[in-house]
Amino acid sequence: MAHSTQSKATRRDFLKLAAGAAGVAAGPWVSRNAEAKPVSIVFARESSYVKNFDVHFQNVMAPAYEKATGIKIEYQIQAAGGSAVPQLVSMVENKSGADLAWVQQEWLYRDALVDVSDIAEAVGKEQGGWYDEIKRLSIDKGKWKSVPNGNIGQLMNYRRDWFDEVGVKRFPDTWDEFLEAGIKLKAKGHPFGMSMGHGFADNYSWLYPLLWSYGVTVMDKDGRKVALDTSETAKAVEFVKKLYKEACIEDCIGWLDPHNNKAFLTGQISCTNNAYSIMVSAKRDLPEMGKVIEHGLNPKGPTGQRYHSLVPVTHGVFSYSKDPQAAKDFLRWIMDPKQYRPWIASGDMYFAPYLHAFDRVPEWDIEPRVKPFQKVLETGKLTSWPAPANRQHGEVINRWIVIDMFTKAITGTPTKTAIAEAVSQIKTIYG
């Protein structure tokens, strides 16, 4: 929590004056030195797979902010792997904890986030504008409730050497080619490992894009009508059944998010959908494998379209914070290009900015195998797409309704029944 040494009614007025004089982008945090200010601000984020990202924040940014403003930044790193959301929910329910955070699944607690439109609009204006899709997450009822920070790209991670061995010289362009390659690789003892269990990203990051590429969405644009009950859904389900049976390792329908990383790194699978954390681990611990890992785009479906799923990182300020304005000032500061660009670069673009100013920056060229992740921003959609990213959509995701539609069909439920059950559950959730 932000701890104030004292609180004065005139402080906000003073800040407005200071901001007017110096300009918003010039850094309202500096003006705070002249006034009563919080002693510290708590900033919670899930730990990054690229360690240097957190290290840069702790060793460079936090001390710099303290030096400039006198406000200490307490960086609360939350364990990766799905435990951040329950922590955030607890914070919001108890009205205590961090002042601002990486607000994962923000639709759950948007009502507890303050309006940050001023920051988001200023940042967008100065850095080439925001990608459209992310606005559908951060803007709620016309107000920005979070400031997008970056996207964790999810792509096909594959073993180039094994693909070469079976004569697949370029990564499959369509799902049918993908299946064909998988059959050949499984025959050679290198099956695919496509996560379909109760995880939180590696499952929907390929199953949702696959559905979309068949021309199917879960809901209609307004989020009022279930759109899943179509013949194309049945075709997509039948395809996944075939893919699982003929190309995948048996275990993958029960996998949580760490399982595919482990299976890939132990040489059990030749392809999976994941962030580039597998490559990071391999380069560090298994250099030989690190050389032969490549990243491919999600294949195109029968519609000829290719889709990816966004895994957004957004920052929001909690309304229960003792000094939300101090937290907002800090948020504005970290999004200033002077801080933001080196920070993003320190993470090797693992968190890809949703800002067009980063479309052609040289940071994308640090590693050719990272470059494809930029494409995710162009073709990436939120899991709610085209419907609003609201609580109901979150419930569908967190109860794995769509994921389980596929796994039920795989484990023996007739395809029609699996779809009907999913549709019925979604209707109940949307009410």
Binding site: V85, P86, V89, V92, E93, L108, Y109, R110, D111, A112, M196, G197, H198, G199, I249, E250, D251, C252, I253, G254, W255, L256, H259, K262, A263, T266, Q268, R391, G394, E395, N398, R399, W400, D404, T407, K408, I410, T411, T413, E421, Q425, T428
Partner: protein, 315 residues
């Protein structure tokens, strides 16, 4: 030294044998058994009220409200329970919980009995073996479950490696990849963790059975099975039943193991009521609905426990 001792003894002998301590009226009041017992009971009761009673009552309260994260609650009566009644995943979780608890408890009880009978024999390093058997019970569940993830890994896991190396199978099963095997796996891990509790408790019970009973039975012509059936087992029944009651409660509410190992998948085949309550509350943000799932566990468990308690008393 001896002089000092003698002097003190002499002093002690010279002193009045019983010197009543005077605390006054307050002291006398506190000394009354009914007051003193309540004084001793109050701190733990307050602790239980704060850390168990309050969350439980709050959970009961929430289950009758439509409560989403960061929003105010609105009273909906039994609406949450009606929703659950019509929710197929809830009923699947109920079925899974009953199967999981039932099978795991039966395996743990019979395995624990066997373990205790073996541990009751004399053999070298008996104490060391007994101490080692407690390990699964001591290691934090999350930690041991992560180890189990590796053990159950299809390619690199210990089980499948052993099956392949020993020539028993060309390749091992997918322990977490099919609904049936995933349920078998979580029951197996739960059994591994809970077996020592049964084993050690029953062992303690075994050691209280008088040797004379066995001797009398032997004189009456009872063999090994006869002594076990008519002496050992009846003497152990109270212990077994009490340990079973405890185990049912712990197993029924198991969460960590499933959360870490399968997350309730694949296709909800290992979703227990506890994991489903968590999914609804913390994942989907439906605090009221999640609390209703948690509260639904109470009557099922309550009935089971009442039946067992009745049986124990009858026995």
């Amino acid at each position: 030294m001896s002089k000092i001792l003698e002097a003190s003894r002499a002093g002690a002998l010279a002193a009045p044998t019983h010197q009543p301590i005077r605390f006054g009226r307050l002291g006398a009041f506190i000394e009354r058994e009914s007051v003193f017992s309540w004084l001793m009971l109050t701190p733990p009761l307050l602790f239980l009220l704060a850390f168990l009673g309050y969350p439980f009552i709050y959970g009961v309260y929430l289950s009758f409200f439509h409560k989403e994260v960061a929003r105010t609650a609105s009273f909906v009566g039994f609406d949450n329970f009606v929703k659950l009644y019509n929710d197929p995943i809830f009923w699947q979780a109920v079925r899974n919980t009953i199967i999981f608890t039932g099978v795991a408890t039966i395996v743990k009880a019979s395995g624990g009995l066997g373990m205790a009978l073996v541990m009751n024999q004399s053999f070298k390093m008996k104490s060391f073996a007994r101490a080692m058997l407690l390990l699964p019970f001591i290691v934090p569940t999350v930690l041991s479950t992560v180890a189990w993830q590796w053990i159950l890994d299809p390619g690199m896991g210990l089980f499948n490696r052993l099956l392949v190396v020993s020539g028993l199978a060309e390749r091992g099963p997918s322990w977490l990849g099919t609904p049936t095997m995933a349920m078998v796996s979580i029951i197996m891990v739960n059994t591994w963790r809970g077996l020592p509790f049964f084993g050690i408790s029953i062992l303690a019970g075994l050691q209280t059975i008088p040797v004379e009973l066995h001797e009398s039975a032997t004189i009456d012509g009872a063999g090994t099975w006869g002594r076990f059936r008519y002496v050992t087992l009846p003497s152990l029944m109270p212990v077994i039943l009490i340990v079973t009651v405890f185990s049912i409660v712990i197993t029924f509410f198991d969460f960590q193991l499933v959360y870490v190992l399968t997350g309730g998948g694949p296709a909800n085949s290992t979703h227990l009521m506890a994991t489903y309550a968590y999914t609804l509350s913390m994942g989907a943000g439906q605090m009221g609905l999640g609390s209703a799932v948690a509260l639904s566990m109470v009557p099922v468990l309550g009935l089971l426990l009442v039946a067992l308690t009745f049986f124990v008393r009858k026995d």
